[in-house]
């Protein structure tokens, strides 16, 4: 562990069983949030652009896909089966009232080398969209969802990874600085399937990302990684729920975040639920935050709800720290100027966020956008 960060690692049993937590496709099942609810207690609702109220959509989410012809994609229609259930009113509004969407089908046993790009563009006004990704059994692929544009939008995603499918799902949140974007992911993980997700969050004024994973059978594996860097005034919230509802599944959650500037606020809430039948579960969740100046605020709440003791591992950790004077001194004492020293420490902090994710094209794209954002953060510090 790096020096200067306060380490807190805890194992909790039966913390916070949540009978009030519901899943639904109907907005009317959820009251309009007031900010007092657990789900909304950090969120600046006044800045959510009416996404959480009754205000109807007056704009449209635009989708486009770029991929080889081994893969099928088309506009989503109301005839298509969707399974998506939301944990909150905004997600339910999206699945209830989306008027544009896209469906992507990766054939079984296919191995798609080139990344599949889904571009999501939001425009001025309120809009809702939905994405369905069907990942065939024994297939192997990389999907990159890129969020751009402005306005107030909620875009929901459902992923169905069939048996032994391997999917790397990267989401790049890179909206305009005035955008409000709410994104809820539902990951359905089949037997022996392996889904790795990475969310890189740089843009938007308000960004709320709520990935939820569950297993359709045993021996599934999911990795939910994320990295975010908030600047002055920006609000970035991540709420992760891994529902270990099947035996012998593995989950690994890692979010690395940073913030700088007056009123930058990041929130990470990680919930792992291990149900009574989920024996042999192996789960770990971790959030690390690096505050670059006194204006930044980070909230980090790991929760673990365990209904069976017959598991391999269940752990979580949360560490929030500031730039370490001794690290900066050490680097500067080797002739490296203060700004470059900070850059090295910040880039180093985010380095393992990519995990095992090695697709060179996508890794380069992400690294480049992250570097640009770090550069802006450093300029803001001068």
């Amino acid at each position: 562990m790096s020096a200067g960060l306060v380490e807190r690692e805890i194992l909790v049993k039966n913390l916070d069983a949540r009978p009030d937590r519901i899943l639904s496709r109907k907005a009317s099942d959820f009251a309009i949030p007031t900010g007092r609810e657990e789900e909304w207690r950090f969120a600046p609702l006044a800045r959510f652009g009416e996404l959480h109220t009754d205000a109807p959509a007056d704009s449209k989410v635009l989708f486009s896909a770029r991929h080889s012809n081994e893969v099928n994609s088309r506009a989503l229609s109301r005839e298509d089966q969707t399974s998506f259930m939301s944990l909150d009113r905004i997600g339910a509004r999206a699945i209830e009232s989306w008027d544009s969407g896209i469906i992507l089908e990766i054939p079984q046993s296919s191995e798609i080398a080139a990344p599949i790009y889904l571009d999501v563009l939001t425009t001025k006004g309120i809009s809702f969209g939905h994405i369905v990704i069907r990942v065939g059994a024994n297939s192997k692929s990389t999907v990159v969802i890129g969020h751009q544009g402005t306005g107030n939008a909620a875009v929901t995603v459902e992923v169905h990874a069939e048996n032994a499918a391997q999917l790397d799902l990267v989401t790049l949140f890179d909206s305009e600085r005035d955008a409000v974007l709410v994104s809820e992911h539902e990951l359905n993980i089949g037997k022996d399937a392996k889904v790795r997700t990475l969310a890189v969050q740089l843009g938007a004024d308000v960004l709320r990302f709520t990935p939820r994973a569950k297993f359709t059978q045993d021996h599934g594996s999911v990795e939910i990684f994320g990295g975010f860097l908030a600047s002055g005034g920006q609000y970035i919230e991540n709420r992760v729920l891994v529902d270990h509802n099947q035996p012998n599944c593995v989950s690994n959650v890692l979010f690395r975040g940073g913030g700088h500037g007056e009123n930058s606020h990041t929130v990470w809430v990680g919930d792992v639920l291990i149900r009574e039948n989920a024996s042999g579960t192996d789960t770990y969740e971790m959030n690390r935050n690096l505050l670059l100046d006194a204006g930044a605020r980070a909230d980090s709440v790991p929760n673990l709800e365990i209904e069976t003791g017959d598991i391999l591992r269940a752990g979580h950790a949360s560490v929030t720290g500031r730039l370490d004077d001794d690290q900066l001194f050490y680097i500067q004492s080797r002739g490296i100027d203060a700004a470059t020293a900070k850059r090295l420490v910040i880039e180093g902090f985010f380095a393992d966020m990519f995990g095992e994710f090695k697709n060179p094209e996508v890794a380069e794209l992400l690294a480049k956008r992250l570097e640009e954002t770090i550069s802006l953060a450093l300029v803001a510090q001068l």
């Binding site: 790096s2 020096a3 690290q327 001194f329 500067q332 080797r334 100027d337 203060a338 180093g348 902090f349």
Partner: protein, 254 residues
């Protein structure tokens, strides 16, 4: 020919609400090609001297001066001091997660030399320096000091000393925590630096053990924030036999 001159240096550190004076008027001169050992008991302020020369923000300079070839070191930022030719090998080198040794060294070399070395030349230079100090080349892909043993951290410090070729180097207890073999290898690195680069070395230690391998031109005894006595190698031998008692008593009676 370079010269680091420390005159009347008084340094304090903030502890709780009060400033605590640690260095109480240090006078020292270190010249190119010279090894000057500073020996003193724990808590005498040796590390504070090292950090003050390098410019750690935790320490406040109350009075006195430090110059390198006439230039005012105290006016320089930490990185400017390094680029001016000063080097500090730390007693506790800091871990930098996510930053590889090779990236760190190359960034440092580029800053010190004022231009990026050609990649192929650089890889060769780094490899050969690593092999001389007995570091596996695989260390270049590891994160700086992360998971290094005590001995590996010290080798890594001396590797940097050899690559950066400073005019004057302050080595803060580089010998602590080393076994006999590592002590010999690290000492050879220090000797190479003095011979090849004519670096002047301020060797801070509280054991005479390292002085068997690195022969000092001067030995100063450092007690209670000042230099009490300066002599040659024989002073180190006296300390080996009699310890610091005589000097700590002398300091107490001043």
């Amino acid at each position: 020919m370079s010269e680091l001159v420390i005159k009347g240096l008084k340094v304090s550190v903030e502890s709780e609400d009060t400033q605590k004076e640690i260095l109480r008027g240090v006078d020292l001169t270190i010249r190119s090609g010279e090894v000057h050992a500073i020996m003193g008991p724990n808590g005498s302020g040796k590390s504070t001297l090292a950090y003050a020369v390098a410019g750690h923000p935790k320490y406040t300079i109350d009075s006195g001066e430090i110059t390198l070839d006439g230039e005012d070191v105290l006016e320089m930022t930490v990185d400017e001091r390094a680029r001016a030719g000063l080097f500090l090998a730390m007693q506790y080198p800091v871990e930098i997660p996510g930053v590889s040794v090779s990236n760190f060294l190359r960034t440092s070399i580029t800053a010190i030399r004022g231009e990026a070395p050609k990649l192929r030349d650089w890889l060769k230079e780094m490899k050969s320096a690593m092999s001389e100090i007995g570091m596996d080349p695989q260390f270049s892909e590891r994160n700086v000091n992360e998971g290094f043993s005590g001995g590996e951290k010290k080798r890594h410090e001396i590797l940097q000393l050899e690559l950066l070729k400073p005019k004057i180097a302050v080595l803060d207890e580089t010998d602590s925590g080393l076994d006999v073999d590592a002590l010999r290898i690290v000492s050879e690195g220090i000797n190479r630096t003095v011979e090849r680069n004519n670096t002047g070395v301020l060797l801070i230690t509280h054991y005479t053990r390292i002085l068997r391998y690195v022969k000092p031109d001067k030995v100063s005894v450092f007690v209670d924030g000042k230099v009490i006595e300066t002599g040659g190698q024989e002073l180190a031998e006296e300390l080996e036999t009699n310890g610091y008692v005589k000097f700590t008593k002398a300091a107490a009676s001043v």
